[in-house]
Subunit: 335 residues, 2 copies
Amino acid sequence: MKIRTLIAMYACLLSIFIAYAYYYQQDISRIRSLQDEISSLHGKPDEKYVMVTFQSGMDYWKRCLKGFEDAAESLNVSVEYRGATQYDVNEQVTVLEQVIARKPAGIAISAINPTALTKTINKAVEEGIPVVLFDSNASGSKAFSFLGTNNYSAGVTAAHEMAKLLKSEGKVAVITSPHQLNHQERTRGFVETIYQKYPRMQVVAVKNGKGDALASKQAAMEVLNDYPDVQGIFATEANGGVGMAEAVAELNKKYVKLISFDTEKQTLDLVKEGAIAATLAQGTWNMGYWSLQFLFHLHHHLTSPSRSGDALLPAYVDTGITVVTRDNVDHFYAK
Amino acid sequence: MKIRTLIAMYACLLSIFIAYAYYYQQDISRIRSLQDEISSLHGKPDEKYVMVTFQSGMDYWKRCLKGFEDAAESLNVSVEYRGATQYDVNEQVTVLEQVIARKPAGIAISAINPTALTKTINKAVEEGIPVVLFDSNASGSKAFSFLGTNNYSAGVTAAHEMAKLLKSEGKVAVITSPHQLNHQERTRGFVETIYQKYPRMQVVAVKNGKGDALASKQAAMEVLNDYPDVQGIFATEANGGVGMAEAVAELNKKYVKLISFDTEKQTLDLVKEGAIAATLAQGTWNMGYWSLQFLFHLHHHLTSPSRSGDALLPAYVDTGITVVTRDNVDHFYAK
């Protein structure tokens, strides 16, 4: 090998090396600018947010959790789903205490009743853990926000939908659970809207369906017998919807238009086969999605910054209502 | 130079090169993982969102815009502020039309009145431009959400604050603009809460201050002369607050507790010097911040994904109220 060849190779190698180093430096600055671009809306995978419910196996929570998970994916953080398996106040308090003990980055909780969890929620907030409530509020607590359905508005929506089905004319009735605040509000929204906006419609009866399909069937039978010209019934919860559909079938009055609530499988099946004309879906995905967004903003101190005592987060988020009919029912089956 | 030396240098250079290439490859995979980490909550700087107001020079909008800008920074997008300079319906319609013509990524608008902009807003939505309303709603429009104060709740907060100041005892009055819905609701929240929760308090008068300092001063003078034992007055808007403070000073009744609304400089000065005991700050930063978040989610199709007809966004966000007193007033001066 000649020296000249070696020197040529040497020069060649050196220039490749220089070229390589040049591109490498360019990539280094690309890395830097990428790092700058990673926004403040970007957490760490070990940052864990917990959703706490009751009757945790219910279908209803699935879309809430999906929203929570979708937000976690966008924000690059982790989530965990916990809950009382039963409709049991003490069990939910215990679960919440266990969750708090592990100091998560934030907790979204649906309260089994408006007062029982307040003390435990406040303890979490005092320990510096962000807490928001979704679906069912505990309004006296120190939680930072509540995200859920405006039940009065849901009743208003039901009234407009009923008017559409009946061409703004005819007698209607309500089957509800008169001892629960959310059902009172759904009923009030419905009754007041019919009264104020539809002069040729009339609410002739409001019956107690006791949150039970059999009792609701019985209540619907009474309505249909007492007022044979009733044209529509609104049930403020899912079992009431199933019961009234049975009553209408049994009395062979399938022309009576039925509006139910929520999207349990049985309700969706009845919508699909035309026995129930419409049901009202709550904005469960929004509850979960924006709960996690709010918790993330609290954990990372990204809320209204420069004012002490300013409202850190919106006090209340009305997550909306969607009317489900035969046309769009397929989208609502749990996936 | 000996061949051996050249070969040694050659070997040395080669090993540096290999080492370099090795680290480079590691950095390449770092770049890849960084790219993966850049979340979906990350826009492009040429993605422009526009805020549209009326009387666009008002201090009131500054914190709304700050929230809008803060969200834009987090999401790596651009914002622009536009508005009718006057309180002029036609001017706001024209501004909005100009904004739509440039096809921005989204528009947040505070509507000068509930109906005049509906047609133009709907045009934007039909052209595929995401629109949300903040502060002042146009509820009949196709905008995707409304973010603003719950005025009834604001009145409730004022009532509780007044009760705190008066130790739950004594006669009080309201100065309001009885022909505007938001002021009606503030008044109703105040009056109903005093009536329901504070049996030793009484609302003795509700007067029309006409949104004007002089008329409000006159109204406050009448109240204080007709009911010499009035202990507190709530004004539902800023000019009313200024007027009643003048009346109280002129009649030398500085023991009367005054609660005003909003955070104009003049109001804050009166809070600072003790003439007004408290004023209610609206969650303006939250209006701007969450408006931009919502628009971004619409533009990038990040809202509730798999359901056609599902509520894309929460229907309503109550952006909250903060009580401003001497203790925290310094944080509320516009910066």
